[in-house]
């Protein structure tokens, strides 16, 4: 069984994250770049299937500018066998549609039995790309799984919805998106880090993945028309409790018609 894992390089949520006010795009130099944790968890699910001998091969797949190679390398050092890195200046600023098209293009020829993705990234937080990729590849989507069981010809798992926990299953090939309730990702060990350097990474440009013209090619596109930074929120009244603070707060809430 071959498993592809979709990973993404994102700005570290521990730092301040910025948008470029001229383009509305992520200011990638403003913060540390890391592999998104949800992608590491997706990889952990795949690696556990390989540890259990259910899967033979795990491939990490990402789209992003040159520095995203670091995210691929992190995935390889955790234990993935190889990587695919879609990178092209023409894909800069891609919307959800172009991103899904490019990822689907890279996955289509790969002969994968299972594709695993995080349910949403910490930067865009859209959570729609896995569904778009599944639809483009004609695969059933098992979305937002809290637990995943990978069998020889089937994948199943549990998903919380409004008022129930569903157990869902689909025959392979299929696409799964996982939530952060799946197990913690492993840390790369020294052997993994050293071995990562020798593992193959296939670079692909926009024409290799079948996205003619990149982010500005024919078809529909999202265009960001305005970007504004919200003025910083200023601190209000801070009181040291001298025994009357709770009464003052109740007064404040009443005055603002909040109680």
């Amino acid at each position: 069984m071959r498993i592809a894992v979709l990973i993404k390089q994102v700005p570290d949520t521990w730092g301040e994250r910025k948008l470029d006010l001229a383009t509305g795009r992520l200011d990638r130099d403003a913060s540390d770049r890391i592999i998104d944790e949800i992608g590491e968890r997706a990889l952990e699910v795949a690696l556990q299937a390989r540890d259990a001998k259910t899967a033979d091969e795990v491939v990490v797949v990402t789209m992003g500018p040159a520095p995203a190679a670091e995210a691929v390398k992190k995935g390889l050092s955790m234990g993935a066998d190889s990587g695919i890195h879609i990178s092209d200046d023409a894909l800069a600023g891609s919307d959800t549609w172009t991103t899904a098209e490019a990822l689907a293009g890279a996955l289509r020829e790969g002969g994968f039995d299972l594709v695993i993705a995080g349910n949403e990234s910490t930067d865009g937080r859209g959570g729609v790309v896995p569904a778009m990729v599944a639809e483009l590849l004609g695969l059933p989507l098992l979305a937002e799984l809290d637990e995943v069981t990978i069998g020889a010809g089937e994948v199943s798992g549990s998903r919380g919805v409004d008022d129930a926990i569903l157990t869902v299953s689909a025959p392979l090939p299929a696409l799964v998106s996982i939530t952060e309730r799946t197990p913690e990702p492993r840390f790369p060990n020294l052997r993994g880090i050293m071995g990562a350097k020798k593992k193959p990474v296939a670079g692909q440009d926009s024409s290799a993945v079948g996205v003619e013209g990149g982010a500005a090619g024919p078809g529909a596109h999202s265009v960001v028309t305005a970007t504004a930074e919200r003025p910083p929120r200023s601190a209000g009244t801070i009181v040291e409790d001298d025994g009357t603070a709770a009464a003052q707060l109740a007064e404040f809430l009443a005055k603002n018609r909040l109680i």
Partner: protein, 328 residues
Amino acid sequence: MSTILVFAETSPSGEVRESAAGLLGLAAKLGEPAAVIATAPGASSGAVARLGELGAATVAVGESDRAAGGAGANGALVGAAETEAVVAAVEALSPAAVLLPNSSTGREIAGRVAARLRVPVAVDLVDATVEGERITGIHSVFGGAYTTESVVDGGPFVATVRLGAIEDRAAAASPATHELTLPGDALGPTVTAAAPVAKTSSRPELQGAPIVVSGGRGLGSKENFELVGQLADALGAALGASRAAVDAGYVEPSAQVGQTGTTVAPQLYVAVGISGAIQHRAGMQTAKTIVAINTDRDAPLFEIADFGIVGDLFTVVPQLIDEIGKRK
């Protein structure tokens, strides 16, 4: 006036979920509101009437025995009937925009529908405007640190809308019903078991609640965390928590507010014993009014609080509950 199509989530018995009210409110602002639902056969009539009350001038109905509607029966296909119904409604009604709730089901259907229509999804709108034929989506990014606006060139505007973000409500209408024929074959995982989750509390849902009271590591134990619950009940609020409190096992993970939990935008957010790491702030800083109670004067949350109390929460919170009780 352009048609704006709303995907209304329904329960397994066909009841319209709350997200539809805000979506139809936004649709009425942008054009003529229409709704689409996918229900089990014969379960749609109550939903059609309800969607009329919420402002839908047209309701497109796709009935299918595969409709999952959340806690679907065994054998339902997750998302399949819903996706087919929205795609069929787009063909029938040619809407200028399709609005879906930014819930886990709504996002899944949005992605599948957009891929079929070969258009992007504008994600997590907090508002939208229309000028002539052009619809502009407004997004709140990085926990409200930025506001961006986006349009879609070359196709219908498919968007997910943040739950609870839209206060507009549409005037009631007498809806025309439009029956949809759904294709026989469909793609989706099969539900093999559905275990109903007993509602453990009568408190409001975190997402969309007008008041949220959250507790953090400062509570110190699961037993002490009950104090946060008492304050929430005094205010009629939903219960939230920081990741630290969830990781420490004080409260169930579904209560987590922040970057990796739920994003809330209530009228009032009360943080008890939460220092306010940036990940937590990202999930709550668009609240209209923020109150913080913490022993540590240097807690980052005080920088954005409208009212802060530096003091022992075990003293202040019981007093506050008393004060609220007196004023009721």
